[in-house]
Symmetry: C2
Subunit: 402 residues, 2 copies
């Protein structure tokens, strides 16, 4: 007997038929004699409908009330899944985030889990019940309903798996697992059987939208083994786990493309200490996440600073940089869209040379220009033209024999 | 400064525009310097949608899960109303039934309120906030979400008004108040300015669908003054209160019609003790509410028993009676639809004679046959043909000069 946490996302419980199919899937695991804890999201579309209603009443809704509102999405799903299990003769009971003992801080709409009290769930499990927990939500010590922000249901599942000392956490979604590249762009991309937390983290933060980096970080920190797999078929997915020695034999695990970036260049800056700091302070005050950064000093002591941000943040970033330049009285800001970031990821890179050379050579052979380069221990990223991004991904995927 | 509880039903908060209009109405009361506690229902249609989803997954959904599911309807509304108030600059905070301290027993889907802990609401009121409470729901001492059954939101409002020692409880609905008769049938029916709890109780249980008897009983028991009024205009409604001396001057307060009844006749029964008891025991085991009852003994020691039940319960009632007859080995069951119950209500009846005579004379003059008669201290009911029911209501309304 194993203890298994399963998480089903919004598309997996979108309608009555899919809920019924999820219940069937849970029953199979129960019939094999396992203890099952299920974490579910709101039915897909429900959260957006609720947000639309809120915004049409109030363009800047209070965060506490927003949490009160959005928590209903998951509460609906847990009850429906429990009823579907009952219809199959499987004993099951639902739990809101609060009832499941998921305690968070008071940062409404982006709360952090501070602890989980598992007594209620343990009791239900010992009675032979499947426990269906509302993902994405928790409760503050003051009794307020909170939500965890984007990707919150994955985090609920991984945190519960950790607290309940589950043997496995399965994240069911609408893709079959983690691929060597996006299969919609690279038709011969291959599904990975396993991947390390660090590799998954680089992929998660690189536009491979399988899982939010936050959930992977949590899993890494607490050593939660989890599997990403599809709720629409029975194929095994990708196991995400601690790096093992054999993993290093694989030099490059996958390649990823982020088309949602834009490049901001601040030019003709005085080359003196503090200028870059002022600009990044202004961006951070606006809660803008900066990705790649390059600074170089040209002739005559004039510096150029280039960085990338999400396309949604382009105008706010320009304004933030502009406001600093106005105080300095020098410099220009330029926003370039039409770019993409291509990344090569693999823990084996650390001990293998030549990975970067292969990337640069492949792009050069095909006359694809490199705008920026950034590297980490297990990743190399380059900025290229958006127009040739898909082609570049296919070429690089090929070059590494993935 | 007064303390006022306002309750808005599903049609009053059906969509964004109506929620905005409810917020405007609340703001007016706040601007007059009053403390306001608002109880809301789910947006109309939402509860039925949720029930439909549940039933398509499981024809006999578990009651605990049903409560978990249905509670989301009101939770959505409280958040939206709070946001709408914020948009008008009114400080407001929402509270689920549990957060509002509404404690119930564990009888899921038809829980009874066992107590209300008002600390949290009192604290919000003292901070100058409007408190928006989810009606229809509560929490058991074990932390389970419960719902109060039909008319539950009215009960939440009246119970809160009692616990919070409110000066007034306003029940906003889609009618202007309580009328001397249904205005859709009797065009010259008059809205009543006031009515006693007992009269309202008789009307509530007689198809005048303004309020469930349960809420009126609670208000009577705890002496909660409440007003039934429309959320679609500013006209004063009907005040429901303890009977006062002057009320007795009015002999007949109103006339009501219940078209949702059917008559069940059990004939040729042996006239011996216990037969009727067995039949009513069988009906009560099926949780069927029996309204009027007549028994008479014909020649040869053979008894006939006639009673009325809701039309929905017709077939289950026939089956229950039949099962008793099979044990006895005698008797026949006959179900007659096509009937209506017409009732005349007024506390003044107790001290005035001639009320019944006027009723019988009016019906006789117009050749409307009376099938059954039943009376209480403040009510006379007769069963008549459904076909002539509307006409009879108009004639009787006229006869009492209402």
């Amino acid at each position: 007997m194993a203890r298994i946490v399963q998480k089903y996302g919004g598309t997996s419980v979108a309608d009555i038929d899919r809920i019924r199919s999820v219940a069937g899937r849970i029953k199979k695991v129960v019939d094999e004699g396992h203890e099952v804890i299920v974490v579910v999201s709101a039915r897909s579309g429900v959260t957006n409908e609720l947000i639309d209603r809120a915004l049409s009443l109030n363009p800047t809704p209070n965060h506490r009330e927003m949490d009160m509102l959005l928590a209903v999405g998951e509460q609906e799903t847990i009850a429906l899944v429990a009823m579907a299990l009952h219809a199959l003769g499987v004993p099951a009971v639902s739990r809101t985030g609060a009832q499941a003992g998921i305690v968070t801080d008071l940062a409404h709409t982006r709360a952090r889990i501070t602890g989980i009290t598992c007594d209620s769930i343990e009791e239900c499990l010992s009675e032979g019940q499947v426990v269906i927990v509302a993902g994405f939500q928790g409760v503050s010590p003051q009794g307020q309903i909170t939500t965890l922000g984007r990707g919150g249901s994955d985090l609920s599942a991984i945190a519960l798996a950790s607290s309940l000392k589950a043997d496995l956490c399965q994240i069911f979604t609408d893709v079959n697992g983690v691929y060597t590249a996006d299969p919609r762009i690279v038709p011969n991309a291959r599904k990975l059987d396993e991947i390390s937390y660090d590799e998954m983290l680089e992929l998660a933060s690189l536009g491979s939208k399988v899982l939010q980096a936050r959930s992977v970080e949590f899993a890494k920190k607490y050593g939660v083994l989890f599997e990403v797999r599809s709720s629409f078929n029975d194929s095994p997915g990708t196991l995400v786990k601690e790096e093992v020695a054999s993993m290093e034999d694989v030099v490059v695990r996958g390649v990823a493309l982020d088309k949602n970036q834009c490049k901001i260049t601040v030019s003709d800056l005085p080359d003196k200490p503090g200028t870059a700091a002022d600009i990044f302070k202004a961006l951070s005050d606006e809660e803008i996440l900066v990705d790649m950064i390059i600074q170089n000093v040209g002739r005559g002591g004039v510096a150029n600073l280039t960085f990338t941000v999400s396309r949604e943040d382009a105008e706010r970033s320009r304004a933030a940089a502009q406001s600093v330049l106005e105080k300095i009285g020098e410099g220009n800001v330029d926003v370039a869209e039409g770019i993409a970031k291509l990344s090569v990821v693999g823990v084996g890179m650390r001990s293998h040379s030549g990975v970067a050379a292969t990337l640069f050579q492949t792009l050069a052979d095909n006359h694809i220009n490199i705008g920026m380069i950034s590297t980490s221990e297990i990743k190399i990223s380059v900025v290229i033209d958006l127009e040739r991004a898909d082609e570049a991904l296919r070429l690089v995927h090929e070059a590494y024999n993935l």
